[in-house]
Symmetry: C2
Subunit: 708 residues, 2 copies
């Protein structure tokens, strides 16, 4: 080994490469990969083939032992059964890393999984870093490393570009690579990680985000093995102003089944992944074309200072459709200011049958017949200070109006997307983002606007002098072997962490109930507390709106009678006397623990609505109060705050505090598995937990989460 390097540098930016299993027989993977390597790489390349001889242009080593010491990276393509031995040999020769293209491991079932486990053991012992197995290799065009069979060696070698693609699936990654070339996305990197016996997607992402030449990252993920590294990479990307665009496969149960048989990996909750991505600035897309659409618009590095779009077309219909798309995306299409409007009008040939509003409809008069005017108008539009994003429409035929678009694009620093009937080579070469559909063009522009205007990621302050977990442990202990806390204990626990709950008293008889109601001084509810009755209303364990001592006393007895009759086996521990609180709105707030990302806090519509329609947002713990506020303001596209009777600022603040309280509780009490606060009642500036259920982890209530 010549000098110490970061371990992924020797793998992904090697100065010397061995190709174990290199061949020159047509149609073999060993040949495709070897030819890809030698056509692109400037450093030393050593083919290894037990038969020796000259392979294309240089002699093959017959074994790894014959290699010089300290080769940076070996590409390994031997049968699965020989892989562990080969990596052992690599380690012995000081080879730093292996790109393992062989298949036949965890993806084929139990036998393969056992083989992969023994591979893992060799990796741990030798310290050789391995990407794969069951991957298609990687491409680092900036360093001339084509360690893959993703592109046939007969395909012209692409120019290195600013976009990096990371994909677990080799086949689909190669598909996306091919599509990138067709659509004008300029890749500099493509790394496939396959079964991820060692190096995983998050680690590659964290590595690539630090490379100066990488400006945009596109990720195709089936599973995420290293959530903290992923979040760290997302934070760095946001700091460095490098968008990450993520396409997640395995969202549905059907697909998760397919993904597990494909890469033998556990698939977490797609909703939680979405939430984590939103929280840390990663852009989640729904489909392959959308990923490429965003790669295309982001690769020129332009940013927008607002969400106001200017539209220019030679077809009124296209303009109307583009304006629709803009409105649907939430962009504004403001009128062009009078001065600029007059100036543009003066540029038009007469008689002019189009329209200088926004959209500008130049009609077909302008494009072909007056290319000079076309460019003047487009330049004038791009110059309007009150507009931030731009789109124009053209036909995929070389001609003066396309020359004009090209010049105008190069003369501005504002984002411009072109809608075209097809792709134009000169636009590709110059990097003009070209789209074949109005909605996709506008969606890409909106992605730039949203990314440009994104809020800074927060670093939640240390909870500091919070609740002492030891102090509240007695509350958890009250459960005494049960899997849940009573409503009264659940609310008391929440209150200890700063949540606002209903004022209430726990009582043991009707006299105490009457006295408690008197102390509370409002109409009250009675609720029978029992570990056997988490759903109270079905068995009569609930009485509402009691106003007088007589009503309380009568309801107390009637409730216990009814519970005894409808749920004879339930043991009633106590009765809760709770103030009635009015509600203009009922919300819900809760805690879940995701197998991949750990604790997340949910907030959404509550009450009975939740059974018809679950509307919620999730936040990964920890998060700041400001992030909670932003999340609440984002619910239902902003309608929860903007609607008549929506939340006011004070209520938003209080709801955010409840979320923060639950988040702190989740961090400090790993023994709490779930929390469900439903309803959170909202009325006149008061946001209060009116019912709550804390579910405990049966395994252990004091172990930290990570060890579970």
């Amino acid at each position: 080994m010549s000098e110490p390097q970061h371990s992924l540098d020797r793998l992904l930016s090697p100065r010397s490469i061995a190709v174990v299993g290199a061949s020159d027989k047509p149609g073999r993977i060993g040949t495709m990969v070897y030819q890809n390597v030698i056509r692109a790489f400037g450093g030393r390349v050593y083919p290894v083939n037990p038969r020796g001889g000259i392979l294309i242009d240089r002699p093959a080593m017959t074994s790894i032992d014959d290699l010089p010491d300290g080769v940076d990276m070996a590409i390994v393509m031997v049968p699965a059964s020989q892989v562990a031995g080969t990596i052992e040999q690599c380690g012995a020769k000081g080879i730093g890393a292996v790109t393992l293209l062989s298949s036949g491991f965890a993806e084929i079932g139990a036998d393969g999984a056992a083989m992969q486990a023994s591979l893992r053991e060799v990796i741990d012992r030798t310290g050789v870093r391995v990407v794969g197995p069951n991957c298609i290799g990687f491409m680092n065009l900036h360093a001339g490393v084509m360690a893959n069979f993703a592109l046939p060696h007969t395909t012209p070698l692409p120019e290195p570009g600013p976009v990096a693609l990371v994909s677990q699936s080799g086949g689909f990654g190669s598909y996306i690579t091919t599509k990138s070339l067709l659509t004008g996305v300029k890749l500099g990197w493509f790394v496939s990680t396959g079964n991820e016996v060692d190096v995983n997607l998050a680690e590659v992402l964290a590595h690539l985000v630090e490379h100066d030449e990488v400006k945009v990252l596109m990720v195709f993920s089936e599973t995420l093995r290293d959530p903290d590294v992923f979040i760290g990479a997302a934070r760095r990307a946001a700091e460095l102003d490098k968008p990450i665009v993520l396409l997640k496969a395995g969202r549905s149960e059907e697909a998760a089944r397919a993904a597990m048989s494909h890469t033998a990996s556990i698939v977490g909750s797609a909703a939680v992944l979405d939430a984590v991505c939103r929280q840390y600035g990663v852009i989640v897309v729904d489909t392959m074309e959308e990923m490429l659409d965003l790669g295309l618009i982001f690769q020129d590095g332009r940013r927008a200072s607002g969400s106001r779009i200017g539209i220019m077309t030679t077809s009124g219909g296209a303009g109307v459709l583009l304006a629709d798309c803009a409105a649907a995306e939430g962009l504004t299409v403001p009128p062009i200011p009078d001065r600029e409007r007059a100036a543009i009008e003066a540029m038009m040939p007469q008689p002019f049958y189009g329209s200088i509003a926004n959209p500008i409809d130049t009609t077909a008069q302008l494009g072909a017949a007056h290319p000079g005017a076309y460019q003047m108008v487009l330049d004038a539009l791009l110059d309007v200070d009150e507009l931030d994003l731009f789109t124009t429409v053209t036909w995929a035929q070389p001609g003066p109006s396309n020359d004009a678009i090209l010049s105008s694009y190069q003369a501005t620093t504002k984002p411009l997307a072109v809608l075209s009937t097809g792709y134009l080579p000169e636009f590709h070469a110059a990097g003009v983002p070209t789209y074949l559909d109005p909605r996709r063009a506008v969606h890409a522009l909106n992605a730039v606007a949203r990314y440009s205007l994104r809020p800074a990621l927060d670093r939640p302050a240390d909870p500091g002098a919070g609740t002492d977990p030891a102090e509240v442990r007695h509350l958890l202990a009250r459960a005494d072997g049960q899997r849940l806390l009573l409503e009264s204990d659940s609310k008391e626990l929440l209150a200890r962490y700063g949540a606002q709950v209903t004022r209430e008293r726990t009582v043991g008889n009707a006299d105490e109930a009457v006295e408690a109601a008197r102390e509370l001084g409002t109409a009250v509810a009675l609720k029978a507390m029992s570990y056997q009755l988490p759903h109270k209303s079905d068995v009569g364990a609930l009485r509402l709106n009691l106003r007088t001592a007589a009503e309380v006393r009568e309801a107390y007895d009637a409730m216990l009678l009814e519970v005894a009759e409808l749920a004879p086996h339930a043991k009633v521990e106590s009765v809760l006397v709770q103030e009635m609180v009015p509600a203009r709105l009922e919300l819900t707030c809760g805690l879940q623990r995701d197998p991949v990302f750990g604790p997340v806090v949910a907030v959404g519509l509550g009450g009975t609505t939740i059974e018809i329609m679950a509307v919620a947002e999730l936040l990964h713990v920890p998060f700041s109060h400001a992030t909670a506020v932003r999340t609440i303001r984002g619910l239902l596209g902003g309608r929860l705050v903007s609607a008549a009777r929506g939340l006011d600022d004070l209520e938003v603040d209080q709801l955010a505090s409840l979320m923060v309280a639950i988040g702190r509780l989740a961090t400090e009490l790993p023994g709490v598995a779930e929390i469900d606060v439903n309803p959170v009642r909202v009325s006149a500036g008061r946001v209060v937990a009116a019912d709550a259920l804390v579910v405990l982890d049966p395994a252990d209530s004091v172990q930290p989460v990570e060890a579970r």
Copy 2:
């Protein structure tokens, strides 16, 4: 005129054509159109140009007067100011129809609108049918009529295909025509209607749907001038099993503004148009690519017998993504039955590292190296009886696996969509539906499944012996100049049409209120009735849950006192004593009148939820009880009936009856402008209107709707 024809036949399928404004000077529209006509048309063509001489291959007439009598159709391209005179001349020479390409009419403002009005006058007088102005012409490839400048005459003439495109916008229609050629959609017709001074989009649609060679209709619409004709065409298309795919521009306010300046037309509510389309089987799409995607999948005429998709890929990742897309669309991805699975497994080369589940992941082994096996597997998959729709993945390179896909496609009658990195000429030629994105491929297949499984359109029975409008007119008369009915009168009116409303009495003093409550025999609410207080709760005009005579009496006085204090100018007409009805769910039901389509009945979530989140479906009047039931069952993706505490069958039936009642009322009482029933309270098999507001049309309460 030689013989009588349907007027649009002489326009769109002429046997002779005059080209008024024909030219041979390069770059002129007159030249483009003339060359398009003569290169395609087998019948007689007469160029007209005041300068005369030989135009390309035949002598030009110097005026319309020189034409032989009874030419079927004239294409007119003269300046706007000469158009009226030209049409006058056409009429005098017995020309049946004019394709009017000139611009400078309503689209340019008031002057143009005046010119268009005088054009309308000439059309009415002469009986000449006119398509345009401000259109790009039309193309009827089946009859060789290229009366347009949508395609340059240098573009090879497309083969006539089964898809017809109708577009108001000429420019965008021509854009779509060009895209159709690139994506493999086989057009037989393209008609642009422009400003629609005479012939409109709905009429063209109704005409084309009857043509045998037309199998699919694609419509790009900015405004709909003839809703009844449109609905008639949609009905015929459904009967004839011809999908109509509609893209609507001008959905947003921004776009509507642009559309009005573009075609000078009124734009109706996009939500109502969507509802009408859904009701009559028209498929509404969101964007241009989606329209072409559906045109492409529908043009082979294949239908599906279910929604079960079979997926085959050479890339596991692509399979997972396709399965995700299928699940998101609501398709099922069932496992392949054991017998077929074993048979397919036996076809695979060994060792086999893929997976024979659904998706089938053949891995890259199969595609290139074993094309014979590839086709066997694909054929075997297509043969599985338990699967209805299919997709497979390929690369846009000629090769044996693409030959296999082509053969398999031709050997089956089931719908198959191919996901490819790019378009393949041999697939285009054979009509294999090819998509560049997984989501789009699966969405197209789902469109086929949904269209294939669509319910038959109902013909609502005649309301028959319903409520006599004269009988209820006194109820409307009670409003006595007010714009609305009191809640009590509103509910009485609804009840007359068969709606279930709360049991209630109108009273004038506290004694009567107590007596009414006694008669009702339940807890009651009191509501102050006043034309000035449509929103009762804000001013204390509402008292709930009164159980005893004392409570009723006390509440009566307190309510009137509070109203007098908070709304001193309100005149209280009476007090409504209403039974309290329990509610598991609160819904809403109402009537709106759309400026284009007339009365529509809405049903959706009610109560306070509606202010945060409007979820509703609309039905165009008239509709049957069965259609109302289907609409309710479709609300919230079916969750309103499938959720815990969702509607049961009896409740769905009652809610449908309420909708039908409101629909009947809307038909019989055109003086009712709006109805808002909110909430409709649902509990234990009872669906009842608990509050209702009828708004009257101030103009006239007896005039029919059309005359308003």
